[in-house]
């Protein structure tokens, strides 16, 4: 049992980060803290992909004359490529969310969700 | 012209008219001309189909597929013809009357009124000629929606409340029907009407009974079978021509007609008897006949009294259908026509009195018969018919209904019919007596109503008389339908 847990520690770390991120996104009232939570959340998923690509005793997926084309010698490059794309997506989302946060701050003067809603109701 | 084309004309003329009415709403004369023209064309088209139907042919028209394996399709069989003919002939009279009534009262939003009216008649034709359940259902729902603007026509809070009640009742009824139609499709994979029914006898009895009750309740809402009737008296807030044509002929009859269609062409006599749903229908219909007559006795408002009377007479038709005996079937179908002509006359009279004197309560009608002799004379005549005495149309249908209940061995129901005849007399004759014999309370003398109102009254009254003296061709349509379904009658 203990060994099984140890063998899967990356999963648990991923899950932990996911939960931390989710808490930030849903539990915090400050919009910027929500964004921080979102970044943690996304990073957790990136790490999940990266750890899934690793192999014991393998190296970077660049053709090495010593190993030839033996797939066991190279880590799986595909998840890295996927995550590279996912990072681009995440950057774009973060950019848009920064823009949104700025707009909100300029029109409401606060980043506290409840306070903004209160203002919105009054108008 | 080919028969299918005439069938198409009979159907399509109304929506076209509705569109034209909407577009020419600013010119009342042109607008009313469209109504009259459409009514005339429709009646003509339906009449032109009559010889072929009487000759035993069934013109059909299939438009387009609306669900895989089910088409928007129509057929003019005797039963549908009977309903379509009565509705379209009475539309001509109602159109004339409407113009007199609406102008007499200076009503607002007449464009919406006439356009909705045209749409209602369109839906009624669709129901009459539908050759499968889905087509019937589609027009049934269109009828529900098209009648709504007429119910709320006055736009007073009471009218709006009546409209909501109307929608709540009828849309719910429509849902039961939709479920029933869906079940039929699920069970049989077909929705085409077949004389004698198309539901297979091998089906599980429980689901058949459920199906029968769903159909009964679904159509029963529109047919105002108690305890589903309460929208109808409320809807009497609509202008009188609406009450006359829709709440005595088209809408409510669509309910009972649909029920008859389902009993005859979906279940068939044998299966309907076997399933065991008919006692429910008979019981509720019988109770409705008596209760509504008793309630009618208490109504001082003339239109409400007529409305309760309508509730009762609709159940005559339900009763006749559910008796499953040839004579009762013929009587029920004939009552669709006969009651239509009788009741529309009565509503016309009520409306004429209202337009002319602004009175709507029975207690205010003392002596009015002497001032409006033609109007009240017609009322007196059709009262006799509605009670079921010769020589009017009501006698023919009640006679066959009575005969049918004897055939079916339901002596109790014969008693119900006779008792209700007495009750009819009890709530109708006092009106006539008051109108002609009681002294006028005030000195004000009213003359006869305007010709545009009196004309249709006399026309409808005459039709009711003709239906008693010369029952054909309606009677032969009814008995042909009975022949096809139940192998006998008349």
């Amino acid at each position: 049992m203990g060994e099984e847990l140890l063998g899967r520690y990356p999963y648990f770390l991923t899950a932990l980060l996911l939960v931390v991120g989710l808490y930030g996104m849903l539990g915090k009232r400050n919009l910027l803290k929500k964004l921080i939570g979102m970044t943690v959340f996304q990073t957790a998923i990136f790490l999940f992909f990266i750890q899934g690509a690793t192999k014991q005793g393998a190296t970077l997926p660049i053709l090495d004359p010593r190993w030839g084309t033996d797939p066991a010698r190279y880590i799986n490059p595909l998840p890295h490529v996927l995550i590279l794309t996912a990072i681009v997506v995440a950057v774009a989302i973060t950019g848009v969310s920064f823009a949104l946060v700025l707009t909100i701050y300029r029109s409401h003067g606060t980043l506290d969700e409840e306070a903004i809603l209160e203002q919105g109701r009054k108008r | 012209m080919e028969a299918p084309f005439r069938l198409l004309v009979a159907l399509a003329v109304s929506p076209v008219a509705a569109a034209l009415i909407g577009l020419t709403g600013r010119h009342p004369n042109i607008r009313e001309a469209w109504t009259l023209l459409a009514a005339a064309v429709k009646a003509g088209a339906v009449l032109s189909l009559l010889p072929e139907v009487l000759a035993g042919r069934t013109p059909t028209l299939t438009l387009l597929e609306i669900s895989p394996g089910v088409s928007l399709a129509f057929r003019a069989d005797p039963m549908g013809m009977l309903f379509a003919l009565s509705a379209s002939l009475l539309w001509v009279l109602t159109s004339l009357y409407s113009i007199g009534y609406m102008r007499g009262l200076g009503e607002a939003k007449q464009t919406r009124y006439f356009a909705s009216f045209a749409l209602c008649l369109w839906a009624t034709m669709g129901i009459a000629f539908a050759s499968n359940l889905l087509t019937l259902f589609i027009f049934y729902e269109i009828l529900t929606i098209a009648t709504y603007p007429l119910v709320i026509h006055k736009e007073t809070p009471e009218a709006m409340a009546a409209g909501r009640k109307y929608l709540a009742y009828l849309l719910s009824g429509g849902l039961l029907l939709l479920l029933a139609v869906g079940l039929v499709w699920g069970l049989m994979g077909s929705l085409e009407f077949q004389p004698g029914g198309f539901l297979s006898g091998d089906l599980d009895r429980g689901s058949l009974l459920l199906l029968f009750l769903l159909f009964f309740l679904g159509f029963g809402v529109k047919g105002a079978v108690m305890p589903l009737h309460s929208w109808l008296p409320t809807a009497m807030i609509a202008p009188t021509p609406v009450s006359a044509l829709l709440h005595a002929v088209a809408v409510v009859k669509a309910g009972v007609f649909g029920f008859a269609r389902v009993v005859g062409f979906v279940f068939g006599q044998d299966l309907a008897a076997e399933v065991g749903g008919t006692p429910v229908a008979l019981g509720l219909a019988g109770a409705t006949i008596l209760l509504s007559s008793l309630l009618a006795l208490h109504q001082d408002n003339l239109k409400l009294r007529l409305a309760y009377s309508t509730v009762g007479h609709l159940s005559y038709i339900v009763l006749g259908t559910a008796l499953l005996s040839p004579s009762a079937w013929v009587g029920a179908l004939y009552h669709i026509v006969a009651h239509g002509a009788l009741k529309i006359t009565m509503f016309f009279v009520a409306g004429a009195i209202y337009v002319h004197t602004h009175r709507e309560n029975v207690s205010e009608l003392d002596g009015i018969g002497r001032q409006m002799p033609l109007t009240m004379g017609a009322f007196a005549l059709v009262s006799v018919g509605l009670v079921g005495l010769p020589p009017l149309g009501g006698f023919v249908s009640k006679w066959y209904l009575g005969l049918g209940s004897v055939e079916a061995g339901e002596g109790l129901l014969l008693g119900v019919l006779l008792l209700s005849g007495l009750l009819n007399a009890a709530y109708l004759f006092p009106i006539v007596i008051r109108a002609f014999l009681a002294p006028s309370p005030d000195g004000h003398r009213y003359g006869e109503a305007p010709p545009l109102l009196v004309g249709p009254i006399l026309g409808a009254g005459a039709l009711a008389l003709v239906l008693g003296l010369f029952p054909n061709p309606f009677f032969s349509l009814a008995s042909r339908s009975g022949d096809v379904l139940l192998g006998g009658g008349g």
């Binding site: 660049i62 950019g95 823009a99 | -």
Partner: protein, 144 residues
Amino acid sequence: MLTRHPSPVVTTVARLLAPLIALFALYVVAHGHYSPGGGFQGGVLLAASTLLLRLALGEKDSAPAFPPSLALPMAVTGVLLYTVTGVVPLFLGGGYLDYARLPWPGAPAPLLRYFGILVVEVGVALAVWGTMVAIFDRLARGEG
């Protein structure tokens, strides 16, 4: 609006560092198609060099190095470069991004693939560079 950093140490180091970063970025872009690197990474580094100047010198003084109005058109041009390189083979009977079908007379397919991907990487680099700078400029000015 960002202003010039008061310390000459910061401004000088930034001005020294920025071209080096940009140079390294070009190397990364150029190597992307057969070793680690590529348009995206290179583009981010290029953006980093620009942003370093922006942070140290402020928007006005860094404008000669990279005019703010250039960012959006550059980003769009980069994407177009990518997309057009992808679409051209489509009209020449190949698939989307099928570089072997690029219309370069006489060039063998492997060479076409080699340069096709390079063009795409350059497009990506431009797009990333432009986008990052555009986002930064807008946020720095406090626009949504």
